[in-house]
Symmetry: C2
Subunit: 339 residues, 2 copies
């Protein structure tokens, strides 16, 4: 069976998921949507994706720009699809639910939507089975995905009494030129930040406290995490071995010159990763420290791409293509060339 | 008695402490030093501070630039002083200790030097008495000063089981144009960061865990703090009342438009603070939250100036001018126009 996937919103996440779907042997793209004839519309056509206007009022814009859209809008596209990836900007995707319900398709939303919109939130490592056969699921945000990948194995192996996390967030994505801050640090004044409760939607029983700030950088988020372990005998080496055996975690070392997110992204370019993305969570190996039962670590999150393989695994769970989460993760990783 | 104060190193801290000393009625500046004839040398002369070259090899530079230095170098200046403020760049001040010993003056170093260099580290609120009559003292760093001012009263009143702090540090001062990062987040890979142990030099028995990153901003540090309290009955209102009664802590509110460090510094400009500095620690009042015995808060630190009043109080303790720390703090604050 080859699952037919529609992308509603060919933007930062949508375009990446489209390319990732194309690289799998058990799913294919039947079309993508946009509202406006931007350069990304040109690129979708060049890649051979059938391009649909989201609604009728958007069609003339594409025709005026000479972009050869497939007629019929989102509704026509959904008739051809088994499942739709909602790539709407944060908080805008919820409004599409009645459309997906009426069209009879399954749907995956991104982390900008609420957990209450869907049957379950999703992370491939922590709760793949909960999405099995489900119709409406949300892949958690880039930050929550990062927390899930590193905290879940620690919780399972050593137990977590409490995790204290501070998220230092990029102010804007690289493609943006109108957002800030450009010389300030902006705290998230709603305390605790939503990231802690969000992590609890994919990790049962996690005791987590979160604070967050936005800073003037475009390329990655960075998490500063302090974790009180249940197992007071755990060592730094134990944690390193655990994460080394966990998929989608990649170590870097300050000792090799990777002293900031700048050198992390340079490595993605040197490795010729697609779009210079890092789908893995980046952990500074030489900073991982367990002292008196407390684990300290820094991790960097490539906000545009870490959820992309999660969307692929989520399709596989919802469409009942592969019952074993680790097999799905491995299959996805192999197809995408990630660790 | 009017204490005679020398400033060795008229830079970011030195120039501010010089002006602050001048505003007190129990101390005066007898001279300041520099190594090079920069614009700050011109400004020192304009302010009427006797300017000395640090060493003989520096004198010709000033003479060539037509800057009227007082002849005789640092050694001559120290003969006129009771106490010297070492304003050397971080880690450079320790080398001056033999010079100060030989000259028979008391000396205050800044937070860039080690605790082991001196008889005691200093914060006016937490351990003023320890500096009483001492000869060699270190005022702790801007970040440690910030932690001391907010954590110490909480420790005294409610007890602290553990404080988990993440310091989001400015990458460079406003005057700098060669340092970074400009589009990256740089974690301090030595874990835990030195800030925790440094806070313990001025707060006895504080259980603190610290992590730190540098980010692309020039205007302030920001601390994201999560504190487990001993007293599980403490409320948000209790903590706000405590800090409201503590000197050198200033509340700001996101609800009034102060949503980042940018608006904090704009307020310092609007209040016409000298050099647009904020000597106080800035706490976001509407983010202070106590929940299930855990206190969360954000505080911003004006890295160039929060230690300035501490240097004044430190002079007063070391020179036995005022035995009561709260009276010294009040006197300093009144003279400087701070809260």
């Amino acid at each position: 069976m080859v699952v037919k996937v529609a992308i509603n919103g060919y933007g930062t996440i949508g375009k990446r998921v489209a390319d990732a779907v194309t690289k799998q042997d058990d799913m294919e793209i039947v079309g993508v949507t946009k509202t406006r004839p931007t350069i990304e519309a040109d690129l979708a056509i060049q890649k051979g994706y059938p391009l649909y206007a989201v609604a009728e009022e958007h069609e003339q814009g594409f025709l005026d720009a000479g972009i050869p859209i497939t007629r019929g809008t989102l509704l026509a596209l959904l008739q051809k699809a088994d499942i739709v990836i909602d790539g709407s900007p944060g908080k805008k995707g919820a409004a599409n639910k009645p459309i997906y319900e009426k069209a009879g398709v399954k749907a995956i939303w991104q982390g900008g939507e609420k957990d209450s919109l869907v049957e379950t939130s999703f992370n491939a490592l922590t709760n793949y089975n909960k999405a099995w056969g489900k119709r409406f699921v949300r892949v958690v945000s880039c930050n929550t995905t990062g927390l899930a990948r590193t905290l879940y194995p620690v919780q399972q192996k050593f137990g977590i009494k409490a995790a204290y996390v501070t998220m230092v967030r990029r102010g804007a994505d690289p493609r943006e030129s109108k957002k800030g801050p450009i010389n300030a640090i902006t705290p998230v004044l709603k305390v605790p930040s939503h990231h802690g409760p969000d992590a609890q939607t994919v990790i049962d029983g996690l005791n987590i406290f979160s604070l967050a700030v936005a800073v003037p950088t475009t390329i990655m988020h960075l998490h500063c995490n302090t974790v009180e372990l249940e197992d007071k005998n755990a060592t730094t080496e134990d944690v390193l071995a655990l994460w080394d055996a966990t998929p989608r975690i990649k170590f870097v070392e300050g000792g090799k010159g990777i002293v900031s997110t700048a050198q992390v992204m340079e490595l993605a370019r040197d490795l010729n990763r697609e779009r210079a993305d890092f789908n893995e969570i980046i952990v500074w190996k030489d900073a991982v420290t367990v002292q008196d039962g407390v684990l300290y670590y820094y991790q960097a999150i490539h906000q545009e791409s870490d959820v992309v393989p999660e969307n692929i695994d989520c399709i596989r769970a919802m469409c009942e293509l592969e019952p074993d989460n680790m097999k799905s993760i491995e299959k996805t990783n192999r197809a995408l060339g990630i660790e």
